[in-house]
């Protein structure tokens, strides 16, 4: 019967719970969900990871290809991250080109992770050849904070990438790939993203579920590695005071350290 009440009056349903300082899934407002990280789950990709935050699942696969560098940056390679929200992850999406939400998420993840790889180390031959890392993050279960899962999955997958050695013959303009000599990509930073939702313009819920996100009056995402901040993204919605912001940043910092440790363990456990 609770299900019917929830379907008819979701806001009231939540208010009743939050009045007791607990969320319908049993968490306190500031509690985040369990994160599980699984590295190198897809053998057809050059690097991959599966990340779950509660029910939310994102799988990230990296395919390395060879391409010609841009004319204005002849020594750099490319990192092409894209978030996909396929219709299978939630009834809100339809097949076809990426929804607006997917585009916003793609842009957010690209910005938050932009400093992770020095594009110059992806160059192979000046003006001729460079690595193109196609990073595809596919959401398999959309239950809130997908962008957080994407950032963690990308960060993990990037650490599992092993690129083969490539020689480029300037005369014949052909590359030769040595499949058995592989090197890892040097990853410079380890951002972790943590999202918050504001309910009824005052209660801040850490790591909200999809339902909490849809009922929220504002959303906030903090990207940090525990020390530096890479992004504080609050796209409008109800207002926040500085104190509230600071609280969120400290929760995010604490979680970043925890998650980064998990990524380290997951990457380390991959058989070499």
């Amino acid at each position: 019967m609770a299900a019917q009440y929830k379907s008819i009056h979701p806001v009231k349903y939540y208010r009743d719970f939050l009045a007791q300082d607990v969320r319908p899934d049993g968490r306190t407002p500031d509690k985040t969900r369990t994160v599980t990280v699984n590295a190198n789950s897809i053998s057809t990709s050059d690097g991959s990871a599966t990340v779950r935050i509660g029910n939310t699942t994102v799988i990230c696969g990296i395919k390395a290809e060879l391409g010609k560098p841009k004319a204005d940056e002849p020594e750099s390679g490319f990192v092409v991250p894209n978030v996909e929200l396929p219709p299978l992850c939630s009834p809100c999406f339809r097949p076809g080109p990426p929804s607006e939400e997917a585009q916003v998420m793609t842009c957010f993840v690209a910005k938050a992770t932009s400093g992770m790889v020095d594009l110059k180390q992806l160059g192979i031959s000046l003006d001729n050849l460079a690595w193109v890392l196609h990073i595809d993050m596919i959401c398999l279960d959309y239950d809130g904070c997908v962008q957080d899962a994407c950032v963690i999955a990308l960060s993990t997958a990037l650490r599992t990438v092993k690129l083969p050695k490539v020689d480029y013959d300037e005369d014949t303009k052909t590359p030769t790939v040595h499949l058995n000599q592989r090197t890892s990509v040097d990853v410079k930073s380890s951002p972790v993203s943590t999202s918050f939702a504001v309910f009824d313009e005052e209660i801040i819920l850490s790591d909200p579920t999809a339902e909490e996100e849809s009922l929220s009056s504002a959303r906030l995402t903090v990207v940090t590695d525990g020390k530096s901040i890479f992004s504080v993204h609050k796209p409008g919605g109800s207002t926040l005071t500085e104190v509230q912001l600071q609280d969120c940043i400290s929760i995010a910092k604490e979680r970043a350290n925890l998650v980064n440790e998990m990524i380290r363990v997951a990457v380390g456990s991959v058989k070499r």
């Binding site: 910005k111 890479f230 409008g236």
Partner: protein, 223 residues
Amino acid sequence: MSPSTSSEAVEDQKLRPFFCELDVLSRPDGSAIVSQGDTTAIAGVYGPIEAKPNKTYIEKAAIEAIYRPKSGLPCVPDRMSESTLQHTFEAAILTTAHPRTLITISIQEMQDSGGLLACAINAGCLAIMNSGLPMRFLVAAVNCMIHENGDIILDPDEKQLKESCAVMTFAFDNVNKNIVSSSTDGSFSETQYQEAILKCRSACDEIFQLYRDIVKKYAPSMG
């Protein structure tokens, strides 16, 4: 119409000259052009109009923001600005006053030499004011950057931005001066972030004052 100006000198702690004109377009219900330094954006507000069935909310108006880049079609980064604009205006407009309708705010980039998002928010807010839609509060956005040497520079121009290690844009409301939106690029420390908020908040007062001047100036013509 003579544009309202702020201080002429562009110093680190001052905003660039702020020009604004209202009612610049005839078709929309409200419109405004804002330029801050060389950065210019034009905004038009349409609505409330009848909403499509799948975009109708029973209890409030749907807000749609359309962001158009200077040339070409909008691409992925533009969608992110669009979403920030949409949610910022949604907070500012009293949406419950026009349930089951659609309000469209269309913003055209004219010139970007730093701080375009802030300029767009300000133009949008003025256009909404101009359209006469009821609002919860006004918003003012300020752009700032962190210089490579750690200094915080308010409302930087294109040249200064080349030496930045992080850029931030904040929008504040005029009631409690709380943060409506925050958008950042690059990495920084928590103290730098707090400092930036403080500086931008004090600067936003200046913009609210400008809003007041503009309304005063246009008040007779608005009737």
